[in-house]
Assembly symmetry: C2
Homo-oligomer: 140 residues x 2
């Protein structure tokens, strides 16, 4: 088991939530994937061989994980919510042709000091969303 998975035990127990096999499976699946799956993606991937977690439980688990801060929502397209267990701050690129989503490392972009720009706002975090065409689609 990857070291990162340990986090769920500390984090969830600290908030009084149980670490059930289903929640663990959802979290492990998210950690193991580099893409940003939807709830449906996770559900079908998880249950492809044997039933691990019902659809409702996947949704519930994602909410629980989100509540304790282990996963984040990612909103890049209309109509679907994607999830991400990569808690390092990062930005996103989305290909307008194939829909592929690519992370953009936080360090690549010079930090923006919103405190200086807009002192009235108490900024918690920010992300940059980049739209365009990926290498593969572009070269077609």
């Amino acid at each position: 088991m990857q070291p990162q998975v340990d986090k769920i035990f500390q984090t969830m127990k600290a908030k009084g939530l149980r670490v059930t096999p289903q929640r663990l499976a959802v979290y492990a699946d998210l950690l193991a994937r580099s893409d940003h799956p939807t709830a449906e993606d996770i559900s079908s991937h998880l249950n492809q061989d044997a039933p691990i977690a019902s659809q409702a439980t996947v949704y519930n688990s994602l909410q629980a994980l989100r509540k304790v801060g282990l996963v984040q929502e990612v909103l890049l397209e209309e109509g679907v919510c994607r999830y991400d267990a990569n808690l390092e701050e990062h930005h996103h690129f989305r290909c307008q042709s194939c829909g592929e989503i690519e992370d953009i490392a936080w360090d690549l972009i010079q930090p923006i000091d919103f405190k200086a720009l807009r002192p009235a706002l108490q900024v918690q975090n920010y992300q940059i969303t980049v739209h365009g065409y990926c290498d593969r689609c572009h070269s077609k």
Copy 2:
């Protein structure tokens, strides 16, 4: 009628789409609002006194306007799609407490040269989404 509204005639006709009273009403409503209303917001606002456009027509009109580039989708929260007729590039701030959305002027933030950072990506546009607490919620 505001000068901006004229745009719809040129733009839609150029693409072979008709400027119907409903589409005009939806567009004018969007131009007149500084917030970023949902389709439902627009529909109820438009029809509060007299029936102007059915719900389906509001959705269709928004798609038509989006297709010709007069309005943009704004994805800031899960489950709802917001719309914006402000075509000047800009960023968004969303208050995590009251949900209020505020524009952040494009010029406020130093442009990012993605071509230099990630030459493989053909970047069309990008926006920054800032989360935090607005002045009002923060001072509570």
